[in-house]
């Protein structure tokens, strides 16, 4: 369209106009290149739509040519908070606050669009279908991991042979894998919210200390990150762990300006820090406190929630591994098709794939580069309110002040340590602005995690639960605590005490 300035922004949804960087913001780079967006936002949207279609038929609000569940404004990736909260209304017993607590740092949910509410029958069948889908995640993840490994082998063979045909073959195969990985990630991520609510509801009825127990019991038994960090230690450039060295989400993290937004990722050498004699787990301890059938129900729910948590981490690692394949594949292919190495991050993956048949698509990169440069100069709020309709991004502000929250139970005390520091000998609390699986190797040596960003079901919360250490999120200024400060955190109540003792 002549006259209209080129923009990289997506169109806002006509009804759901409140966005949040929430779960993206904790771990993803502040800004994503258009290429990375097309590898992250696009398949996420497809995955969520497919899930919504499966569970609730074809809701009209989840169809159409605009993005429904995600958004890309000013080069920043967003989740559509209003749409996600609306999804919670399609499951009985779930409230929008459950969703914002789980993934969006507990901010106030936007007002519901009641006209779009699903009928009771739809709600009930949707929930049953969701549970059915959750049963399948184990086999799906195993099959998917095989496909990701095949891609990694394919990439190794193609790069070693330096064969353009083989590289294009990998590019073609990777797409389906990436979509499936994001689809499973969406499924586990959405499934955890109603499962958690169900667990708390059941526990309140069956046990004396209801919700408190849910906190202690839901722990993933084994997460995928340990295995991947071990694999990374072999330094195999095509191995399953090599993605841990690079930024999550951003595939153009070698190219300016995206390099500056890439989240640091550091690997610490890890030695198996197993406890000499481990304590009996609280999940085992509860078995004797309840009559047999209650105890079975309670433990079954705890295991289910723990396994879905593990599935969420597994699917994320697979998505990141597939992105890492793109990260190495795209520059190679760009040189092969004669594209400027600075330009490919400004194309979408679809345009990139179509380049050999339609070389004119390469011309789209230059105006987009200009648009991105403009967008990167505009600060984008954490939570975005587009209800004004004038295209001006306003921040969505919560009416209640957000308090820090404990997301993994226990008490931990130690000296403040940033994930980039070397491990001291004394007990440490890892403090950071946001955290992801990159700090997994540090967790066995830490007494707790204190983060500025995060929600109940953030990756860092799940990881802390695996290691049985407390985690408190939403504590402003955590990353700027002076070194040497001693802090005590209570992961059950969210209490943080600064103990200025030397």
């Amino acid at each position: 369209m002549p006259g209209r300035p080129v923009s990289v922004d997506t169109d806002p949804h006509p009804y759901f106009k409140v966005y949040s960087a929430g779960n993206f913001g904790e771990v993803a780079p502040q800004r994503l290149s258009p290429m990375s967006w097309s590898l992250v936002g696009d398949p996420m949207e497809r995955g969520t739509r497919a899930l919504a279609r499966l569970l609730w038929g074809r809701p009209p609000w989840a169809e159409g040519t605009y993005y429904v569940f995600v958004g890309y404004f000013g080069c920043r990736p967003y989740h559509n908070l209003a749409a996600c909260c609306h999804l919670s209304q399609t499951i009985p017993g779930l409230s929008p606050q459950d969703v914002t607590d789980a993934y969006f740092e507990g901010i106030d949910p936007p007002a519901e669009v009641t006209a779009l509410r699903a009928t009771k029958v739809r709600q009930a069948t949707g929930t049953a279908l969701l549970l059915h889908e959750l049963r399948q995640i184990g086999p799906r993840l195993r099959a998917l991991e095989e496909r990701v490994a095949e891609l990694e082998w394919g990439l190794r063979a193609a790069v070693t042979a330096n064969s353009p045909v083989a590289l294009s073959g990998v590019l073609r195969d990777a797409r389906g894998v990436l979509e499936e990985a994001w689809a499973v990630h969406i499924l586990t991520t959405s499934g955890l919210v109603p499962l958690g609510a169900l667990q708390r509801w059941v526990y309140r009825r069956l046990t004396r200390h209801g919700a408190e127990i849910a906190h202690w019991l839901s722990r993933p038994r084994e997460l995928v990150w340990d295995r991947l960090h071990t694999a990374a230690a072999t330094m195999d450039p095509y191995g399953p762990g090599s993605f841990l060295d690079s930024s999550f989400y951003e595939v153009a993290d070698d190219t300016a300006p995206w390099r500056d937004y890439a989240v640091r990722h550091k690997r610490a050498s890890t030695s198996a820090g197993e406890q000499a004699l481990s304590l009996v787990d609280p999940a085992e301890a509860i078995s004797g406190m309840l009559p047999p059938w209650r105890s079975k129900t309670v433990r079954a729910l705890a295991v289910t929630v723990g396994e879905v948590m593990a599935g969420r981490e597994h699917s994320k690692s697979l998505a990141m591994r597939t992105l890492h394949i793109y990260r190495r594949l795209l520059p190679e292919l760009a040189t092969l098709v004669g594209l400027d190495p600075q330009m490919w991050p400004y194309l979408t993956i679809r345009e990139f794939t179509d380049l050999p048949t339609n070389p004119g698509l390469a011309n789209r990169a230059a105006p987009r580069m200009h648009a991105c440069r403009l967008a990167l100069g505009t600060p984008m709020p954490e939570h975005l309110d587009l209800t004004g309709g004038d295209g001006v991004p306003r921040p969505w502000l919560s009416e209640r002040p957000q308090a820090q929250r404990g997301v993994a139970p226990g008490i931990g005390t130690g000296t403040v340590m940033s994930p980039d520091d070397d491990l001291p000998d004394e007990p440490v609390i890892i403090t950071c602005s946001s955290a992801d699986a990159d700090i997994a190797p540090l967790l066995p040596f830490a007494e707790g995690v204190l983060s500025e960003r995060g929600s109940d079901l953030s990756h860092i919360a799940i990881l802390s639960r695996e290691y049985g250490i407390p985690c408190v999120v939403g504590y402003p200024g955590a990353a700027s605590l002076p070194p040497g400060t001693t802090v005590s955190i209570n992961g059950s109540t969210g209490e943080v005490k600064i103990l200025d003792q030397s």
């Binding site: 408190e212 202690w216 004797g288 406190m289 226990g410 007990p427 005590s488 209570n490 059950s492 003792q501």
Partner: protein, 346 residues
């Protein structure tokens, strides 16, 4: 070397040594803690008591919190405590059997870890004693002695699990001279005076019994209850400091081994009430099933069958002479509940 000869000299040597004994009682303002502080003071030690309230019946009271690093003591007090303390007693933590996992693990697991780290900083530490509970054994299978801690048992409540965690941590702290003294339910008049606490632990059962409601106990309660009185329990803990206990585990209970029925009967005698104890499985089932809604203490339903099979010979790990429990301490418990004014405060 000189110390050792002094110790074997008998009472004179013991008294001489005790003047150098500087005891820190962590959690010493409670029921058992204050008795322990008194027993240590009677043994001639200098006593300091750390508690959240900062009060002490004997010795110096210090405000602190076991859940915080270095007991949450201010720098000046901390330096003083670290420099002078030679002996430590750990008797902190909630005693409620119905406590939740958060509270139980907060003190018994997180708290114990931070206290053990604090003990490692004490240059003059000679002996520490952790006051554990026999209930850490949960529903232990088979015959248990001082050696066993976890036999694959399950736990009746989070209190038992918390006590298990604490003792596990103490046993794993192999670099510290710390031993454990396991006690059963501790009864007897409150050493701080006043009406005894009938909210928590075994005493939570008494109001139900005294109100005359029927109670189901397997074998009509003719199984050992492992109770002891508070003064002899405190003396055993003090003895563990002086003997010293080393890294061993001791168990103390009333050597007369009153059964649960005897305990209930004796406590109710002061009230002129005979507890209605039956062996009636359906009654037990009803209490278990609906007791919670009717206000029956969970302590009663959880402990209605024999608790575990403890070898009574474990008492012999404690060097003789053993302290003698106060005669009639069970009835004294009942009397103390009846009217605080009648309790002799000696």
């Amino acid at each position: 070397m000189t110390e050792r000869t002094e110790r074997s000299d008998g009472r004179e040597g013991m008294a001489k040594k005790n003047t150098a004994m500087n005891v820190l009682v962590v959690g010493g303002s409670g029921y058992l803690g204050s008795a322990i502080a008194q027993a240590c003071a009677q043994a001639g030690a200098e006593v300091r008591v750390v508690s959240r309230r900062g009060t002490a019946t004997v010795g110096e009271g210090i405000r602190g919190d076991a859940r915080l690093p270095r007991l949450g003591l201010p720098a000046g007090v901390r330096a003083d405590v670290l420099a002078r303390t030679t002996h430590v007693v750990l008797s902190f933590g909630p005693v409620a059997w119905t406590t939740g996992p958060g509270e139980a693990l907060e003190t018994h697991s997180s708290g114990m870890r931070s206290v053990l780290a604090f003990l490692r900083e004490m240059p003059r530490l000679e002996q520490a004693v952790h006051v554990s509970s026999l209930l850490a054994l949960g529903r232990a299978q088979g015959r248990v002695t001082n050696r066993e801690l976890y036999t694959g048992q399950d736990f009746r409540n989070w209190y038992e699990y918390g006590k298990y965690c604490a003792e596990r941590l103490v046993r794993d702290a192999t670099d510290l001279p710390i031993g454990s003294v396991r006690l059963g339910p501790v009864l007897g008049a409150d050493p701080r005076g006043g009406r005894p606490d009938t909210e928590h632990g075994l005493p939570a059962v008494f109001p139900h019994l005294l109100a005359g409601y029927p109670v189901h106990l397997e074998a009509r309660g003719d199984f050992p209850s492992w109770v002891t009185d508070v003064s002899s329990a405190a003396e055993v803990v003090a003895k563990a400091l002086t003997a010293p206990i080393g890294r061993a585990t001791w168990t103390w209970f009333d050597p007369a081994r009153p059964t649960l029925r005897e305990v209930f009967t004796e406590v109710c005698r002061a009230w002129g009430v005979v507890p209605k104890i039956f062996e009636a499985k359906p009654l037990g089932w009803v209490t278990r099933r609906f007791g919670g809604r009717l206000g029956v203490a969970a302590e009663l339903t959880d402990y209605a069958e024999p608790w575990f099979d403890l070898d009574p010979a474990v008492l012999h790990d404690i060097p003789e002479p053993w302290p003698v429990p106060e005669p009639d301490y069970l009835a004294a418990t009942g009397r103390a509940m009846l009217d605080p004014a009648t309790v002799s405060r000696g």
